[in-house]
Symmetry: D2
C-alpha cells in the first residue's frame, strides 16, 4: 500500500474553452469524455507511465464501457476539477470512477464508470496489462 | 401508429475521417457520441423538427445519461451506419437505443442507451417536450 | 486533360451539427479546417485513392500552410457546400483552393489556400507523391 | 506603456492528449487553432477580461483571418508552449502573432498571424472593441 496515493482520487484542473461549448451555451456532452481521458492520462503520467512510450512498445488502451450521468452543465470560462479513481482491475482491464466538479463550489457536474482495456496496437486484440501498469495497480486496489 | 416509421430504427450513413481518428489508429471513443448525436438530429429532422428553430423558441435538448459499450474499433475511411431508435419517453425526456455498425459487414461496433432531456435554453431547467415533439413520439412509442 | 474533371471544383455537401457550434451560436472557426479536410479526402476518394491504404504503405499527408478568410458564420442545421480545387503541385506537395458556401444561397462563408505535403509516415520526412496521386494530378493541372 | 507586459509574448503551456492526435500519429492540424484560441483566451483573462462576461453583454469575438505555417508535428504526450502576442489593432479588430513551440527544445512547430474581430453577439455585425479591451490594447501596442 502506497500511503501517498491510496484512498485519494487523482484530480486534474481543467478550464472550459470556447471550443468545448456548443450553441446551447454549455459544454458539449462528448467533451466530458475528453476531460476524463485527460485525467486518466495525467494519473498514469503521475505514476511514471507515458502513453506514447506504450504505443512505441505496441501497447494501447481503449475505452470498452462507459456509464455516464450528466448532472449539471459546465459553461465557458468555468474552472473544473476532473477526478480519476481506480476502483477495480483484471489482467486486461482497469475500472475507473470519474467525476467532474465545478472548482469553486465543488458542485458535481458529471460522473462516470469507465472500463479501459489494454490491447496490442497492431492487432487490436486484448493483452495483459504491462508490468509497469500492474505494479501501479497494486498500490491502488 | 405510423406504419411508415414504426418498428424501424432510423439509420444515418457516416464516413470516418482523419479528424475522427487518434494515434492508436482507430476512431477516438468520444467521437461515437458525435455520430450518435448526428443520427438523433437527422431523425428529428426527418420528422420535420429542426434544432435551430427550437433554440429560437428557448427549447434545447441535453444528454442526461449514456450507457455505452464499445465493441470493436472503426478506422479511417470506414463507412458506418448509425441508428437512432426511440424506446421510451416521459413528459420531459426521450430514451434512445443507438447502434453503430460497419456499413459493409453490418458488424456491431458500438451501442448505447441515451436519455435526452428537454430544457429551457435560458434557465437550463427541465421543461415539457414541445407539442411538435410530443406528436412525433406518439408515432414511435 | 481529363474533360470530365478539369475546370470544375469538387464539391462536398456537409451539414452543420451541434458539435460544430460554440457558445457564440456559430460554427467554431477550427471546424472549417475539418470540413475542408473532408472535401479533400472525398475528392481523392472520388479519384480512386484512399487515405487508409496510403497509411498502410507508409504514405501520409500533412497540411503545411493555410491562408484562411472567414467571411460569414455558418450556423446550426445549415447545409453547406465545401469545395476542393487543385491549383498547383510540386513533386512533394499539392496546392488547393477551397471554399465553403451556404448551400441554399451560395453565399461564400469561408475560403482558403491550402498546401498539403506528402510525407513518409514513419519518419515524417517529405517524400515524392505516390504514382497514383501523380497520375491524378495530370488530369487537373 | 506597461513595463510588466509590453514586449513579451504571453505564453501558455499545453499538453498534447490522445484526443488531439490522428491516425498519422501526430496532432491533427486543426487542433493548433484550438491551442491558439486557448492562449488568446488566457491572455485576455490574465488582463482581467472574461469571454463569458462578454457574451452576457452581447459582445463576442470571431476569427476573421488566419495565415498558418505548420513547420513540424507535435506528438502524443508532448508539452507545448503556445504564445499570443498582440501586434496591431483597429477599432474593431486585433491582430495577433502566435507560435507553438516544443517546451523542451523550444523548437518552432507552428506559427500564425490571426485577426480577431469584435462582433455583437445577437446580430453578428462588427462593433467597436469594448472599453476594457481598448484599455488593455494601450498597454501592448
Amino acid at each position: 500500500m502506497n500511503d501517498s496515493s491510496a484512498g485519494k482520487a487523482f484530480e486534474l484542473p481543467i478550464r472550459v474553452y470556447i471550443e468545448d461549448t456548443d450553441a446551447g451555451g454549455i459544454v458539449f456532452h462528448a467533451k466530458y469524455l475528453h476531460y476524463m481521458e485527460r485525467a486518466r492520462t495525467e494519473w498514469v503520467r503521475s505514476q511514471g507511465v507515458g502513453l506514447r512510450a506504450g504505443l512505441e512498445h505496441n501497447i494501447s488502451y481503449v475505452v470498452q464501457k462507459m456509464n455516464l450521468h450528466f448532472r449539471a452543465p459546465a459553461k465557458l470560462d468555468d474552472q473544473l476539477l476532473v477526478t480519476a479513481e481506480l476502483k477495480e482491475a483484471s489482467r486486461v482491464w482497469m475500472g475507473f470512477r470519474q467525476r467532474v466538479f465545478g472548482a469553486e463550489d465543488r458542485r458535481l457536474l458529471c460522473e462516470a464508470d469507465v472500463r479501459v482495456a489494454c490491447i496490442a496496437l497492431d492487432t487490436g486484440k486484448p493483452r495483459r496489462l504491462p508490468e509497469n501498469m500492474q505494479q501501479i495497480l497494486k498500490n491502488f486496489i
